[in-house]
């Protein structure tokens, strides 16, 4: 009987574990199927080019990246999976892991290596996080594969301007040739926009916290570097431990510094919600600001695991996206997106996913028979000027930075969703 009891207990436990693992693996495979290959291979593989995207599809960033992938797929669908004479096979890769709940260096490198080893790959969309691009740019650079990020803002990826680290950006380009571009304005513009927004909101003492990643640390450094241009007093810039269960001591310190505004430079997965809650508890009237890393409902909405509702009137954040309906073709994009994904208010990043794919498809199409050449695509991308797009008219400079210079300032509505408030075009930028 005792042996039977032991066996039964073991069976129950093993069954439970297997059941849970099975549930987990089934959800994993379904999620990878849904976000996986969306384009269809041509019957003649000789007419096919491959396009990859690498974005974090697990964790808090999915509030931004899933709409982005939807935007990518919408652009591809509208083009009939074609770029001129070429049939496009699109593969959505995930640079995050379930355990990390955000981008992971190993997974990012694996994604980049996969695309780099594909002889038919001509275009790589990614990464979402600047820290992840620090990993993937050198791998793709060695392979000569053009890479366009729809979200990176860290200055050091493309320039050696203030806010970058020593050796940047050369260390990311081992071949000496630039292979990376981005369609969002870099952080020197975002920091200036944030400072302008804080000045206009009446902030006199701003406490800045950063998540110590490339993006967060860089944006916080730029806030400090540019503060004099806008007459904003930054009382502290603290790198936090993103895994800390609470930030009450930090909040007390900030209170002692007399801060009336709080700025978080980082991504949602890195303790953004908890630190904002704790600062709000210590300073209930302090206004809260953030960059594009937190300007999403997984941060702003209590229903979606974000901050408490009492913070809604106090939050302002910046994203490169302006009012979608004000863009040329923005209304059409919204109508098509709403029809395809049944939502009338897509995350601001959806349009960047849409545009980054359209840019790739248009570039390949224009090249005609050369559309399957990585080097031709790269050259054509860097030669882009006055492109009429859903983001407005833009091109790229020699560093691969967009010529767009504006950020959108967002407030939070009563349902916790970030809503466009106004466009900010800073005049004083480092």
């Amino acid at each position: 009987m005792r042996t039977l009891g032991k066996a039964l207990t073991a069976c129950v436990l093993v069954g439970t574990v297997i059941g849970i693992v099975a549930c987990g693996s089934s959800s994993k495979s379904s999620s990878s199927a849904s976000s996986g290959s969306s384009g269809s291979s041509s019957s003649s593989s000789g007419n096919t080019v491959d396009i990859y995207s690498s974005l974090p599809l697990q964790g808090a960033s999915t509030a931004q990246t899933v709409p982005m992938v939807n935007g990518i797929k919408l652009a591809l669908q509208q083009a009939g999976n074609k770029a001129g004479q070429w049939t496009v096979k699109y593969t959505s890769l995930d640079d995050s892991t379930a355990a990390a709940g955000k981008w992971d260096p190993g997974q990012t490198a694996a994604d980049a290596r996969k695309a780099a080893s594909d002889t038919k790959a001509v275009y790589y969309v990614g990464e979402f996080n600047s820290g992840a691009s620090e990993v993937s740019i050198p791998i793709l650079n060695e392979a000569g594969l053009p890479q366009v990020s729809p979200a990176n803002t860290y200055v050091g990826l493309t320039t050696n301007e203030p806010g970058s680290a020593p050796g940047e950006p050369q260390k990311y380009y081992p071949t000496g040739t630039r292979t990376y571009l981005r369609i969002v304005p870099r952080d020197s513009i975002q920091a200036a926009s944030d400072l302008l927004a804080m000045k206009q909101a009446g902030c006199t003492k701003v406490a800045v916290a950063n998540d110590k990643e490339a993006y967060g640390q860089g944006l916080a450094a730029l806030i400090e570097l540019e503060k004099a241009n806008y007459g904003v007093n930054v009382v502290s810039n603290t790198g936090i431990d993103p895994t800390a269960p609470n930030f009450r001591s930090y909040a007390d310190t900030v209170k002692g510094q007399g801060a009336d505004c709080f700025f978080f430079a980082g991504i949602v997965s890195n303790g953004a919600v908890q630190i904002t809650k704790d600062v709000h508890a210590a300073l209930p009237t302090a206004k809260v600001f953030g960059g594009d890393g937190v300007c999403t409902d997984s941060y702003t909405s209590a229903k979606k695991g974000g901050v408490t509702a009492s913070l809604y009137p106090l939050i302002q954040c910046t994203v490169a996206t302006q009012k979608l309906t004000a863009y040329p073709g923005g209304k059409d994009f919204l109508a098509a997106y709403s029809k395809a994904y049944h939502t009338s208010s897509p995350d601001p990043y959806a349009i960047y996913g849409y545009e980054v794919m359209k840019l790739g498809l248009d570039t390949v199409a224009k090249l005609g028979a050369q559309g399957n050449s990585k080097s031709a695509v790269l050259k054509a991308l860097f030669a882009t000027t006055n492109r009429q797009s859903v983001l407005g008219t833009y091109g790229f400079d020699k560093n691969g930075d967009t010529t767009l210079k504006s950020y959108g300032l967002y407030k939070v509505d009563s349902s916790g969703e970030p809503v466009f408030f106004k466009t900010i075009t800073p005049t004083k930028v480092l």
């Binding site: 436990l13 964790g59 379930a98 790198g239 936090i240 269960p245 007399g258 919600v273 908890q274």
Partner: protein, 360 residues
């Protein structure tokens, strides 16, 4: 000459042996207390000017937060110390049982529909039921782990159950990962944890502090009473001292060990609920850090010693708060483990002494 030279050294050693630990433990609060009194601290700004106070209010606030935070570590540490005391096993899965306790608690009160706007009676009743269910689930889980992973290895080399404990820790972490994902998940602030309950000499006591202490203190007393006064508790102590002798005296050693795991798991379940309400977020990896801190607390207090685990938990809570507030959170792990090393060097058997077979 040598005898003369040795004598002062021996006296210093003796003094350090007797008072060194107390001096070391009091060093941080005394130093910051004096600094606050002499140099003052900024408590905010009025009309653009810093308000500098010269009192012990900030230190008091640090210590209150430390005691309440330490109460959670104490609840977990008691589970470690109970199990180590009886089978001399570091139950690496214990921190993860605590994590499951948090997840269960959050799931239960969410299914009850408890929100910050629920009335006081509904909230207290709902949380009491949540506490009981969470304790029972974690207690049962701990018993199950003992039954499947440790009991079959009772006669095996000590390394074997250690490995199965690590294995179960990973299994539970993966369960948590599949359950709530890889990122910390915010949970509703049901008790409005930052609301002031009362003030003592300017030191604000928040609801979170009251909750942590109100759950921990009765459980510590109940456990102490159970171990000291009941037949089953005496059986636990007898088994801890000498399992063979206990068996010869008619004690069912296996049942006694299972009971120990049940109690440890129940305390972890209670800690899980308090943690979720206190921190207002839960994470699949929370058990790793909490387990490490709680085990440190158990060792600091004297492994196998329940009162030592409580004392260790509270001391570590206070050190953490002082370090977070005064030195910066980036230094806290180094400060906590620095203190552990100091305690071990000055008193190798912990603050209140080990209560294990090896220790006698």
């Amino acid at each position: 000459m040598p005898a003369v030279a040795v004598r002062p050294l021996a006296a210093i050693r003796k003094w350090i042996g007797r008072w060194g630990l107390i001096v070391a433990l009091l060093a941080l609060p005394v130093y910051y207390g004096i600094r606050d009194l002499v140099h003052g601290y900024s408590s905010g700004f009025v009309n653009g000017h810093a308000v500098i106070n010269h009192d012990l209010t900030q230190l008091g606030f640090n210590l209150v937060s430390g005691v309440s935070n330490g109460s959670i570590w104490a609840l977990i540490a008691m589970g470690y110390t109970l199990v180590y005391g009886i089978i001399e096993l570091i139950n690496f899965a214990h921190g993860d049982v605590f994590m499951i306790g948090s997840f269960v608690a959050v799931g239960i009160y969410a299914s009850f529909g408890l929100t910050a706007t629920t009335g006081a009676f509904g909230l207290i009743g709902g949380l009491l039921v949540t506490l009981i269910v969470s304790m029972l689930v974690c207690g049962s889980l701990n018993v199950l782990i003992e039954r499947v992973a440790y009991r079959p290895l009772r006669g095996a080399p000590k390394l074997a159950p250690l490995i199965t404990a690590v294995g179960f820790s990973f299994i539970l972490q993966n369960v948590g990962l599949l359950w709530k994902g890889g990122s910390p998940v915010g949970v509703p602030d049901l008790i409005n944890q930052n609301k002031t309950v009362f003030k003592i000499s300017g030191v604000i006591i928040h609801r979170a502090d009251v909750l942590a202490i109100a759950v921990t203190v009765p459980l510590v007393f109940a456990l102490t009473w159970f171990i000291g006064r009941t037949r089953a508790g005496r059986a636990m102590r007898a088994t801890a001292q000498d399992p063979e002798a206990a068996r010869l005296m008619g004690i069912n050693v296996n049942s006694t060990i299972s009971l120990t795991f049940l109690l440890g798991g129940m305390l972890a379940g209670a800690a899980g609920l308090v943690y979720a309400l206190y921190e207002t977020n839960v994470w699949y990896f929370q058990g790793f850090e909490a387990g490490l801190i709680a085990f440190t607390a158990a060792v600091m207090g004297g492994i196998g010693n329940v009162r030592g685990a409580v004392l260790g938990g509270i001391i570590i809570g206070c050190i953490q708060q002082l370090s977070d507030s005064r030195l910066g959170p980036q230094w806290t792990p180094a400060v906590v483990f620095g203190y552990l090393i100091l305690v071990m060097v000055l008193r190798p058997r912990g603050l209140l002494g080990e209560e294990t077979r090896e220790a006698g």
